[in-house]
Symmetry: none
Subunit: 125 residues, 4 copies
Amino acid sequence: MLLEIDFNSNSPIYKQIRDQIIIGIAEGLLKKDENLPSVRQLSTRLGINMHTVNKAYKMLEQEGWIGINKKRGTFINTQFGGNKDVFLEKFEENIKPLLAEAEILNIKKETVLECIDKIMLNWGE
Amino acid sequence: MLLEIDFNSNSPIYKQIRDQIIIGIAEGLLKKDENLPSVRQLSTRLGINMHTVNKAYKMLEQEGWIGINKKRGTFINTQFGGNKDVFLEKFEENIKPLLAEAEILNIKKETVLECIDKIMLNWGE
Amino acid sequence: MLLEIDFNSNSPIYKQIRDQIIIGIAEGLLKKDENLPSVRQLSTRLGINMHTVNKAYKMLEQEGWIGINKKRGTFINTQFGGNKDVFLEKFEENIKPLLAEAEILNIKKETVLECIDKIMLNWGE
Amino acid sequence: MLLEIDFNSNSPIYKQIRDQIIIGIAEGLLKKDENLPSVRQLSTRLGINMHTVNKAYKMLEQEGWIGINKKRGTFINTQFGGNKDVFLEKFEENIKPLLAEAEILNIKKETVLECIDKIMLNWGE
DNA sequence: GTGGTCTAGACCACG
DNA sequence: GTGGTCTAGACCACA
């Protein structure tokens, strides 16, 4: 999978890495049990600091998306222990101000839903 | 309108204020042309520094949601010049990793849409 | 002459009044010796504070463009004592960053000169 | 490049910094992609507060002259997205009262143009 | 070590 | 009394 960093983004680099890996899992580009590149490899390839990649991996491990151990390296987990209610709370908190903007800008709900459809089109199931 | 700050949130205070005011506009709690409290009033009421409120107001002015001038004080704009395409791009960028998480957690699309419905229920029109 | 205030401008109101009166003189809309409206009249007409008009008039008097006395009221001076070198210094200081912007934006010098021609077209001489 | 602050100027310090950097770009003293000193370095060198420099940098970033990111620090942009029409409007608005003064003071148009020539002499191309 | 955020307090410009 | 500017110093996020 190709990771790309936008150095001009407001989003910190470690967050970009974390997001793209999660999107990669959802898209099926990263299979369960598949190994991720080592911290050193990825940081070299992206031209960024090792600490930054490390931070992204730690965050993913902490959230339960990946496992890290010395023997196997870093790999996508087969089971995800995420709590749906916790997720929905986070989801609402993040999306509410965005939907408010849409409302004020007179963007139709259908347009918003189309956008969501487009994103989820090729995923999973 | 009642503004509430969560001092434990990861979201910076000025961003919380900015978001809540936009939500307030969408919900109709803040009418167009209505005045916002002065920087000093609001900072005192919320128990935070003047400059933090000022930063939120500047951000809102910059984004075109409110106007600031000495004669009228700070007030909700009547016209919003936001570009829909720019918005949709931002929207997609923000929502994509969230939807990816939902996908991985096997949260049904209907659940996500219900969440959106719930938020937009009492807005606008 | 019609004075118009833009309450959304970054330029303070007293400065807008001062500028427009000077432009009025240059355009010949305000003749030498002509009386200006009283502070009270003008502030009422523009819907602004008396102090603001007063500040503009004081500034104009200070710079030598107008005279103020109880008997005659406020009137355009017949002779202007401005120093050309002082003016040119101020002019350079103000226009230099603007010309720098033009340079960086690849705006041709001719375009800038045309803009100046357009402004001065109907003035004086 | 040497930045100099006039503490007696009416122009706020952050504006002086902003103007001088733009002039520096136009003069070629600051090359595209070149890094600017860090907020702390520059504030120490100029004997002013960090936040004041920060404000100038933010303004420059906002206007598209420079980029700020953690990886590269602060640097001159290579492409400038400024809109020419927007610029010309601002230019006219700023220069009109100055030209009016020149007109009233009987300063010849040639003198004004010479002043502009002198400023632009060593720039660009 | 860098910029981001927040606090605190001061003075000034403006209306 | 309002926002604008500046200073000073602190802690944190990021790389």
